[in-house]
């Protein structure tokens, strides 16, 4: 949890209330809280951004924070990623890979019932998975594309076969689209699931109320009697709602004001450091970035520390020009952190035949909030490093269709992925349609494919370390920083933890927390 809050909170309270105030901090502070047992009761109110009037519970289309959080209240996934980024059983209670990881057997949890009273069986799981396969419009279609067959072994066991080995299959099956509904179900406005809460009244894009599923199977969960979600897309309104006590927790706190919010003694800032990172994309098939020296000049011309401080107010980690975060078990910890080096930048620019290297950077806050400011910070640092940046401000409307993957140099972001393989495959494998730097490296492609089928963790680590080094040296993405997900939560809410995947405890806050008496 956040160090920031504890420190600034104590110093302010120390000034205001003296020793008595500080004593209270110790009593209600986090380390003690973890030992408390969950308490039943109360109504949890969440103020969440990222919802619209056209939302429903169609698991194939889930794309924004409100629908994802609400879907996890009503339904369960197959595999859960815990706060330490490890795959844990959910509706799959156990699994086993056959030799080569190209076929897997999954046990389905026994004794789970849907809200309509039906018992969970293999047929429901197969139906739910097949919603995303074949001619489906599902956003998770590409994740399940390598699956060649799903076979029912018994009422509570299935076998999944893949076109080639993948040691990370349980992680891939943790995707938030892969939720389970009863066989044949398709009424997406009135969802039926096995989840901790039952929808009582949902107004899309406005609010929703969910009551506890009294027969929920997951131990220690579904503690509050009801959850109310208020959709608040405006960051100021969201912050006000939390400060005036109308909601218990909000997501997507503004990087610029988070320090001020953290000073409020009734609140806690939850920093979830994960895979979300911000990129400056150089298209390796367009001049001048066809030359690796031009790409290196850009990578050495950025002052990452300054960018992290300016754009994210320090709430993030330095990036090292590859997309694997420090929280990943295959993070290459021995790759030297690239620093701002005007001499090297100038050297590479000259080597590529430019003095100075003149580039046009397309920037928009569509890439991430603060992207245009970040571009300006980058330009200043680059101008002292033999790189002459012209910033082209693009409208946020149409940025993803007209700018991203269209221009030679633009800004973008990636949300985290549960596994290194998934992140590297989607954004850097030369055959991926989302390879947004159009980088193509045969050795990298071959290594990636080899590691995917390996069950030996040591060997996989070696390969992923080399993959990161390859992207770091040769790739087309300049990745200056990783941004934390920031939530703010009232201290009345107990059991709150940061999560390595998403904010609001991996979008599962509603089932995990409980309210103080």
């Amino acid at each position: 949890m956040t160090k920031l809050h504890d420190m600034s909170g104590i110093s302010r309270r120390g000034l205001l209330a003296g020793a008595a105030g500080m004593g209270l901090v110790g009593l209600s502070g986090l380390p003690l809280r973890a030992q408390e047992a969950p308490r039943k009761g109360g109504t949890l109110k969440l103020g969440i951004s990222g919802g619209s009037t056209t939302d429903d519970f169609d698991i194939r289309k889930l794309a924004d924070w409100v629908p994802v959080n609400q879907a996890y209240m009503v339904m369960n996934g197959l595999v859960e990623i815990d706060s330490d980024n490890i795959a844990q059983p959910e509706l799959f209670s156990a699994w086993d890979a056959e030799e080569g990881a190209a076929a897997w057997v999954f046990d389905i949890r026994q004794g789970v019932t849907f809200h309509n009273g039906k018992s969970l069986t293999a047929d429901d799981v197969i139906y739910s998975l097949n919603l995303h396969r074949g001619e489906s419009s599902s956003a998770a279609r590409s994740i399940l594309a390598p699956i060649t067959g799903i076979e029912k072994l018994s009422d509570l066991q299935i076998r999944i076969t893949l076109e080639s080995g993948n040691a990370d299959l349980p992680y891939l099956l943790s995707d938030y689209h892969l939720l389970v509904v009863p066989e044949g179900f398709d009424d997406w406005s009135n969802p039926v699931g096995t989840g901790p809460f039952i929808p009582e009244r949902v107004e899309p894009g406005v609010r929703g109320r969910f009551v506890r599923n009294e027969s929920y199977w997951k131990p220690g969960c579904a503690n509050v009697d009801a959850v109310e979600v208020v959709v608040i897309n405006d960051v100021t309104a969201r912050t006000n709602a939390l400060m005036s006590g109308q909601v218990h927790a909000i997501n997507a706190v503004d990087f610029k004001t988070v320090t001020l919010l953290g000073r409020n003694p009734k609140l806690e800032i939850v920093r979830s450091a994960g895979g979300q990172h911000f990129t400056f994309l150089m298209d390796c098939t367009k001049a001048p970035f066809t030359d690796v020296n031009a790409r290196l000049a850009i990578k050495y011309a950025v002052d990452r520390e300054q960018l992290l401080k300016t754009a994210l107010n320090g709430f993030g980690q330095l990036g090292n020009d590859h997309p694997i975060p420090q929280t990943d078990r295959f993070y290459n910890s021995e790759l030297a952190q690239r620093a701002y080096d005007p001499e090297k930048a100038t050297f590479h620019a000259k080597k590529a035949g430019f003095d100075p290297l003149a580039v046009t950077l397309s920037a928009s806050d569509a890439a991430f909030s603060g992207a245009v400011d970040a571009a300006a910070v980058f330009r200043t640092a680059a101008s002292g490093a033999g790189v002459d940046v012209t910033i082209k401000r693009e409208p946020a409307d149409g940025y993803w269709s007209d700018v991203w993957m269209q221009v030679p140099f633009c800004m973008s972001y990636w949300g985290g992925r549960p596994t290194a393989d998934q992140m590297l495959s989607i954004a850097y494998e030369s055959t991926s349609s989302y390879n947004d730097t159009r980088w193509s490296n045969e050795r990298f492609d071959a290594l990636l494919k080899e590691a995917r089928a390996l069950l030996d963790e040591e060997k996989r680590r070696e390969i992923y370390w080399e993959c990161q080094a390859l992207i770091h040296e040769d790739g087309g993405a300049m990745i200056p920083m990783f941004g934390d997900y920031l939530d703010a939560v009232s201290k009345d809410v107990k059991g709150v933890k940061p999560h390595a995947m998403f904010n609001l405890m991996g979008a599962r806050m509603a089932e995990k927390v409980w309210l103080d008496a």
Binding site: G47, S52, T53, T54, D56, A139, R201, E203, G205, V206, R207, V230, V231, I232, N233, D234, T236, A237, R238, N240, A241, M243, S244, G245, Q246, V247, P395, D397, G398, W400, S401, D402, Y434
Partner: protein
């Protein structure tokens, strides 16, 4: 007078038609198209073409305009492109919410502002007059967004008297509804009151300088009676004008206020629709805002005509 009113109504209809042209043309030139916005990163040329023809985007713009106009005239506003639901089902509940908030604010702001305006005129030059003027000027100079945040800070975050979210829903109690919407109502009252108050005061004072008012005083009438019976009725036309102008603002100008208080009205609905590139919803919302503005202005003009004694009792050629 009847011909004058008919002429004014005709002009109003013409303006509405122009609004429809502007709304349609404006939404046509938004960057990006809805097919691209729906499919996002997963768009392929084939799926784009298929979705475009499914949504009718391959039909020429002019034909689409007339189809759309015909639909609006018969009350059919089309279907949301993102969810396929009829636009009117989504739109009217939110329009009702916006109207409810506007009515709540209007019912308080208009009598209060007109009353204070007349009072300020009657007490010209006193402390009360000055205080009312300064306060009105101060409120009208602050952007409503900022005013809203100030009220949230003082009445909600610091004191906890009122909720900062105007969180309303179907089936909530009346008391709960009033509590939830009081903060946005206060902001709207403050912004609209200023203009009405100052206009009322100025008009009443203008009338007070007329010779017939002096005559009334010379007859020995008291100040209050002169203001209420002689000055105020003659000042009615410009006051009605500024009042309806402000009511139009209450309906159309609430977008920012709705954002500050997260109120589920038409303004928030429109912002939502624009970001999803859901053109039928944007067009319908823009038409409603346009129509509200045009119609209320028309009513104001017609009321001004009807209240003008010279137009009401024409005596042939004027001097």
């Amino acid at each position: 007078m009847v011909s004058l009113i008919a002429k004014r109504a005709g002009l109003g209809l013409l303006t509405l038609w122009l609004v429809s042209v502007l709304v349609f043309a404006g939404t046509e030139i938004l960057p990006g198209d809805v097919a691209g916005a729906i499919l996002g990163q997963s768009a392929t040329p084939e799926s784009l073409a298929a979705l475009r023809s499914e949504l009718g985007l391959d039909v020429p713009a002019l034909q689409r305009y007339f189809d759309w106009l015909g639909g609006i005239l018969t009350g059919d506003m089309g279907r949301s492109m993102a969810s396929g639901q009829p636009v009117s089902d989504l739109l009217w509940p939110r329009f009702r919410n916006t109207m409810a908030l506007a009515a709540y604010a209007g019912v308080i702001a208009v009598p209060l502002a007109v009353g204070l305006g007349i009072l300020a005129a009657a007490k010209r030059g006193t402390i009360f007059d000055r205080a009312a003027n300064i306060a009105a000027l101060a409120f009208v100079s602050l952007p409503e967004y900022f005013l809203g945040l100030l009220l949230v800070l003082w009445l909600s975050v610091k004191t906890g008297w009122l909720p900062s979210l105007a969180d309303t829903y179907e089936g909530m109690g009346l008391t709960a509804w009033f509590t939830a919407t009081t903060l946005p109502m206060l902001v709207l009252v403050m912004v609209t009151m200023a203009q009405i108050l100052r206009m009322t005061r100025t008009t009443v004072l203008g009338v007070m300088d007329q010779p017939y008012i002096e005559t009334a005083f010379l007859k020995g009438l008291k100040n209050g009676r002169v203001v209420m019976r002689h000055a105020a009725p003659n000042a009615a036309a410009p006051i009605v004008n500024v009042v309806s102008f402000n009511i139009a603002y209450l309906i159309t100008g609430v977008v920012l206020v709705e954002a500050v208080f997260n109120y589920n009205g038409l303004g928030r609905f429109m912002v939502d629709a624009v970001s999803k590139r859901d053109l039928p919803m944007v067009q319908a919302a823009a038409m409603i805002f346009g129509a509200a503005y045009v119609i209320l202005n028309m009513i104001a003009d017609i009321a001004a005509i009807a209240l003008n004694p010279r137009l009401r009792h024409p005596r042939g050629k004027e001097a």
